[in-house]
Amino acid sequence: MRLAPYLAFASKAFAREATYRFEVFTEVGSLVLRVYLLRSIWTALYSQNLAPLGIPLHAMITYATVALLMSLILEVDGTRAIRDRIREGTIATDFMKPISLPLYFFSDGFGQTALHALLVLPALGLALLLVRIDVPPPATLAAFALTFALGYLVNFFLNFIMNAVAFWTLETFAVQLMVRWASDLLGGQLLPLTFFPGALGAIVQALPFAAIYWTPLRIYIGELPPSQWGSAVATQVVWLGVFGAVAYVMWRLAERRVVVQGG
């Protein structure tokens, strides 16, 4: 397989995203505002209850800030193009190109992500004026980067599956909204999953959503001891395999549906 087309897709998507300058700036602005608000909320909550569940205030603020920066990257949904193109009917012309469409959507999404990843830097710089976040040792940072990358892929397949539903229903907005809320709340973007009590906590931690935010974040704040990193990564890989397989089967069915039923 030639890589050149997919690199081109990614770089064009990057350029395309960069044309919306206003959106780019407001995104950084809104992020800084949210960092400030989160700091205020957690500080207020902690004044009532010092260090719940052994997470001190500075770790909590670090957690919330890093989660926000991650969301800058994870909320970019490159596969939204699948749904849009199905509704516009342009998906048929995509099938007339000598390329792998899932890879096309991945590289397009990756290009968009790359631009937003660059934005993380100024956003981080501004955020650091408002809050102080902990910086873990290099080994922990490396483990964070690896689990974040795996979480990114799990997130990609989750989005892919959601958008590919449009092959059957044309519309996916409601489903996506619910899954997005569930994954933000149950995945640990809003608050650490250890905050869920007892059995609920166990269930939430066993759900695939945890692989997206929770696994990298708990490594970052040191909640997960290095001895358990291996099994955390293994769990992510399992979810990646499951979602990847579901996405693959769905794609084959969608392809069959298009070529047999004419979309």
């Binding site: 395309r16 044309t19 007339m96 000598p98």
Partner: protein, 332 residues
């Protein structure tokens, strides 16, 4: 050896029959009754490399379905299909390298980026060698006069500019075959002509095989020698435009402008279709005698200022076929 070949090509779409009402909807969930709709019903045709063929038929005749099967994005229900030695639906990606597609109603250009970036992207997709790409880009930019808007984002282009961009995009990888679906829809006369010239040029200079699907019969008359006419999924005519016109009568109309009113105007061998003021329209059979004979007869008897001959218009014939069905040798 034909470049495109189909034999008894059939496509049946099957959909679930829905009973009306809420109860019916419930029943639909459990019992499945199917409705079959035959979109293409046994089409056999073959095209030689370098042909420029008009593929026409009324809405819902099965044109798009055929094109979809030829491009490989739709699997036939039965029958044989081969495009440049490949079976399109089984070898979709390989087939995609041989073909170019232009849809008048949708664009394959990158909406938010300058036009040139879409070309760059296609160069990467089809691995067009740099030298070849430069040559094609230069040639298409000149032919389609795209120099002024190569750097303009596609969303800011006019429809005419966008269509020219789409044509260049479809041809960038030198496809052997190009499918055009309503390529001049909504364009003004100048833009239409520019597109037609481009199609004629690539067909002549590059030997690209062209299949033109359109409702604009002026496009067809201007570009194609051969037309394939389908209706209700079956092929009803495959041949030259000239033969079709002949089959629909060898009658022509001679329009005469008189110098003075002649209320009792008549001429032997021709029927007066219309006589109003100084203008007379005469219908004659060109197999019986030539127009020159008729003109001489008229000129000998009357003072005339101008004459012209009207060919039967393809549009008139096609309209009749859509309405009444195809009957070879029908008289006009």
């Amino acid at each position: 050896m034909p470049i495109i070949q189909t034999r008894d090509l059939r496509k049946v779409f099957r959909s679930i029959k829905r009973a009306p009402g809420a109860l019916g909807a419930l029943r639909t969930l459990f019992t499945r009754e199917y409705v079959d709709k035959v979109a293409v019903d046994g089409i056999t045709m073959s095209l030689e490399a370098g042909e420029l063929v008009g593929y026409i038929g009324p809405n819902g005749a099965g044109k798009s379905t055929t094109i979809k099967m030829l491009t490989g994005i739709l699997t036939p229900t039965s029958g044989m299909i081969e495009v440049a030695g490949l079976v399109p639906y089984a070898q979709r990606k390989a087939n995609a390298r041989n073909i170019g597609v232009v849809f008048g109603q949708r664009s394959q250009l990158y909406w938010d980026l300058p036009l040139i970036e879409s070309f760059e992207l296609l160069r990467a997709i089809y691995a067009v060698p740099p030298e070849r790409y430069r040559r094609n880009l230069a040639s298409f930019t000149a032919l389609l006069e795209m120099g002024d808007f190569l750097q303009t984002p596609v969303r800011q282009l006019s429809l005419g500019q966008r269509m020219r961009g789409d044509f260049a995009a479809a041809m960038m990888h030198d496809p052997q075959i190009i499918y055009l679906d309503e390529p001049t829809i909504g364009l003004d006369v100048v833009a239409k002509e520019s597109i037609r010239q481009f199609v004629a040029e690539i067909n002549r200079e590059r030997g690209t095989t062209v299949i033109l699907t359109t409702h604009d019969l002026a496009d067809v008359e201007r570009l194609c020698r051969r037309i394939v006419l389908i209706d209700n999924g079956t092929l009803i005519y495959d041949g030259t435009i000239e033969d079709l016109k002949d089959q629909y009568g060898t009658h022509r109309t001679l329009v005469v402008e008189l110098c003075a009113p002649y209320p009792d105007f008549h001429v032997e061998g021709a029927e007066i279709v219309e006589h109003e003021g100084l203008r007379v329209r005469l219908r004659f059979d060109r197999n019986a005698f030539g127009a020159d004979v008729l003109i001489r007869r008229v000129a000998d008897a009357y003072a005339i200022s101008d004459v012209s001959i009207e060919e039967p218009e393809l549009e008139t014939i096609i309209r009749r076929i859509y309405r009444e069905g195809y009957e070879p040798k029908a008289a006009v």
